[in-house]
C-alpha cells in the first residue's frame, strides 16, 4: 500500500540524501500516526457484544426491507 520514494544508493547518493533529509525535516510537521506507514496498519477488531451484533443485524434487515420497498415502488412507477 505504501509507495515509497525511489532511493538508489550508490548513484546520485548525495543528492538523494539531501532530498531525504529535507523530506524528513518536513515530515516532522505530521503526527507519527498520520504517516501512511502507520495508517496502513489495520486497527484491532473491536469486540462486539451479542446484543450489539443482534441489533446491527436487525437494523441491517430493516434497512434492506425498506430499500426493497422503495425500489419496488420506483419500478412500479415506471410501468
Amino acid at each position: 500500500m505504501a509507495e515509497t520514494h525511489d532511493t538508489n544508493p550508490g548513484t546520485t547518493e548525495p543528492k538523494l540524501r539531501g532530498k531525504e533529509r529535507a523530506n524528513e525535516e518536513l515530515v516532522m510537521f505530521l503526527e507519527p500516526d498520520q504517516l501512511v506507514a502507520h495508517t496502513s496498519v489495520p486497527v484491532p477488531r473491536a469486540p462486539l457484544s451479542e446484543r450489539a451484533r443482534t441489533g446491527l443485524w436487525a437494523l441491517r434487515v430493516f434497512v434492506i426491507l425498506v430499500s426493497i420497498m422503495v425500489i419496488y415502488t420506483f419500478a412500479s412507477q415506471l410501468k
Binding site: E3, V27, S40, V43, P44, A46, V70, Y72, S76
Partner: protein, 458 residues
C-alpha cells in the same frame, strides 16, 4: 500521543519509509503550524476549512435544489422553509462526528468500519454507498442537463461537462489541497440560488413568519408529504457525506488540534447550505400562484423556463446556472466519496495527495462512478425523472446504518481517547437516527402498500 486511544497509539519511534502522500501532507501541515505559531487566526481558518463546507454545499446538489424548488412551487412558503434549517442542524451533529473521527484517527470511515467491525459490515457500507452514489450521480447529470436545456444545450453536453470536470480536477497533479480549492471555488457559486431568491422579490415578512411559526403546514396527500419530508432529509444528510467528510479530513491531515476549526468549517458549511437551500425554495415559491405544482422540474428546462415567465430572463438564467453548478460540485464530491470508499475497503492508496500512477484504483473509481452515471443519462428513454426523485429517498432509507456505525466509532474510546462523544451528543445523534429511520420507513412502507394496491392511493 496524549488524547488518543490505544488502538492508534504510536508504534514505532524510527521514521518509516516516506511516501509522496506523506510529504505533500506535511507541506500543508507546515503552513498550518506556521500560521498557528504566528497567531494568524483567520489564515489558520482559511487553511483548515474545506471538508465541512464541501460536504454541506456538495449536498445542496442538483436534485436537492430542484426538490426544494418543487416544494416551494407546490406549497409556497411554510413548513418546509424551517424544516430545511432543522435538517441542516441535524447534518451538523452528524458531520461534526465525521470530522472529529477523521482528525483523531487519520483514517476514513470505510477503512475504520472494515477494520474495527469486520469486512462484512465494511463492504455492506461501501455497497450502500456505491448504490446511492451511482443513483445520485445520475440525478446530478440530469440537473446539469436541466440547467443546460435552458441554454438550448442537450444531454451530450451535460455528460461531457461533468466528465471533463471530474477528470480535470482528479488528475491535477496529485495534490489534495489543489483539488479541494478548485471544488470550494465552484461550490461558492451555490450562492446563485440566494441571488435568484432575491430577484423574485419575495415578501420577506412572510419568509420570516414561516421560519418562526412553521406555518402554513402543507395539506394534500399524506404520501406526498412523506415523500417531501424523506427527500428533504435525504437532501441534507446522506451516506456519501459521512464517507466524504471523514476521509477528506484525514486526507487533508487534520489533527485533534484542528477540531475547533473543523467545527467552524462544518457549521459554516451548514449555514451557507441552509441559506442557499432556502433560496431555492423561495425562488420556487414565486411559482406557487402560477400553477407551480404542475411544473416537471426535471423535464426540459423545467424551473428556469417557468421562472422566466414569472420573474424574467435574468432570474431564470441565474437559476439555470445555479443548477449546473449544484450538479457539477456534487459530481466532484460524490465521485470522490466513491473513490475513498473503494480505496479504503480494498486497502490500496486512497488520497488526492498520491499521484494517479500510484493510486490507480482510487482515481479510476473516481472517474468510473461519473462515467457510469454519464452513460446512463445518454440512454434514450431512460427513466431519469424517477431516478432523480428516488435518489434522495434511497439515501434516507440507507442512512441509519451508516449513522449507527459513525456513532459507534465516535464512542470508541480505544480509537478516540478523550475525543469520544459527550452523552448529550449521543442523545441527539440517537434521536436523529430514530427520526430518519421512522421517516424513511414511513415513506417506504406507505408507498409500497399503495404501489402493491394494498391500500388506496392518496
Amino acid at each position: 500521543m496524549p488524547g488518543k486511544g490505544v488502538a492508534i497509539a504510536e508504534r514505532d519511534l524510527a521514521l518509516p519509509p516516506l511516501t509522496h502522500e506523506d510529504t505533500d501532507r506535511s507541506t500543508d501541515r507546515a503552513r498550518v503550524n506556521q500560521a498557528r505559531q504566528q497567531g494568524r487566526r483567520w489564515y489558520l481558518l482559511w487553511l483548515l476549512v474545506g471538508p465541512g463546507i464541501l460536504a454541506m454545499l456538495g449536498e445542496n446538489d442538483g436534485p436537492s435544489m430542484i426538490s426544494y424548488a418543487t416544494t416551494g412551487a407546490t406549497y409556497g412558503l411554510g413548513f418546509f422553509l424551517p424544516f430545511i434549517v432543522f435538517s441542516f442542524a441535524m447534518a451538523i451533529v452528524c458531520q461534526e462526528m465525521c470530522m472529529r473521527v477523521g482528525a483523531v484517527t487519520h483514517r476514513g470511515y470505510g477503512q475504520l468500519v472494515l477494520e474495527r467491525f469486520g469486512p462484512i459490515w465494511g463492504w455492506f457500507g461501501a455497497g450502500d454507498l456505491i448504490l446511492t452514489n451511482v443513483v445520485t450521480l445520475i440525478a446530478e447529470f440530469v440537473a446539469i442537463r436541466v440547467g443546460l436545456a435552458y441554454f438550448h444545450l442537450g444531454s451530450g453536453v451535460a455528460a461531457a461537462l461533468g466528465l471533463v470536470l471530474v477528470t480535470f480536477t482528479a488528475l491535477n497533479g496529485g495534490r489534495y489541497w489543489r483539488w479541494e480549492r478548485i471544488a470550494l471555488g465552484l461550490a461558492l457559486f451555490n450562492g446563485l440560488f440566494l441571488v435568484a431568491a432575491i430577484m423574485v422579490k419575495p415578501h420577506w415578512g412572510s419568509v420570516g413568519h414561516s421560519l418562526v411559526t412553521l406555518a402554513p403546514f402543507p395539506g394534500g396527500s399524506f404520501n406526498t408529504l412523506l415523500l417531501l419530508v424523506a427527500s428533504t432529509i435525504g437532501a441534507t444528510v446522506t451516506p456519501w457525506m459521512i464517507f466524504f467528510q471523514q476521509s477528506a479530513s484525514a486526507d487533508k491531515g487534520l489533527t485533534p488540534r484542528d477540531i475547533k476549526q473543523g467545527r467552524y468549517d462544518t457549521v459554516a458549511g451548514a449555514a451557507l447550505a441552509a441559506i442557499f437551500g432556502c433560496g431555492a425554495l423561495i425562488a420556487g415559491a414565486a411559482l406557487a400562484t402560477h400553477n407551480g405544482s404542475s411544473i416537471q422540474g426535471l423535464a426540459g428546462a423545467g424551473f428556469p423556463g417557468a421562472l422566466k415567465s414569472v420573474s424574467g430572463g435574468a432570474t431564470a438564467t441565474v437559476f439555470a446556472l445555479g443548477l449546473i453548478e449544484a450538479g457539477a460540485v456534487a459530481i466532484l464530491t460524490i465521485s470522490a466519496s466513491t473513490a475513498y470508499a473503494v480505496g479504503e475497503c480494498v486497502g490500496v492508496t486512497h488520497s488526492f495527495n498520491s499521484t494517479p500512477r500510484r493510486a490507480v484504483l482510487f482515481y479510476a473509481s473516481n472517474i468510473a462512478a461519473a462515467l457510469i452515471a454519464a452513460g446512463i443519462i445518454l440512454i434514450p428513454g431512460a427513466p431519469l425523472l424517477s431516478i432523480a426523485l428516488n435518489a434522495n429517498v434511497l439515501a434516507t432509507v440507507l442512512l441509519p446504518m451508516a449513522l449507527i456505525f459513525l456513532i459507534m466509532l465516535a464512542n470508541d474510546r480505544d480509537l478516540m481517547g478523550e475525543w469520544t462523544n459527550k452523552p448529550s451528543t449521543n442523545k441527539i445523534a440517537i434521536a436523529i437516527v430514530a427520526f430518519i429511520s421512522i421517516c424513511g420507513a414511513a415513506y417506504g412502507i406507505d408507498s409500497f402498500l399503495q404501489a402493491a394496491h394494498l391500500i388506496p392511493a392518496g
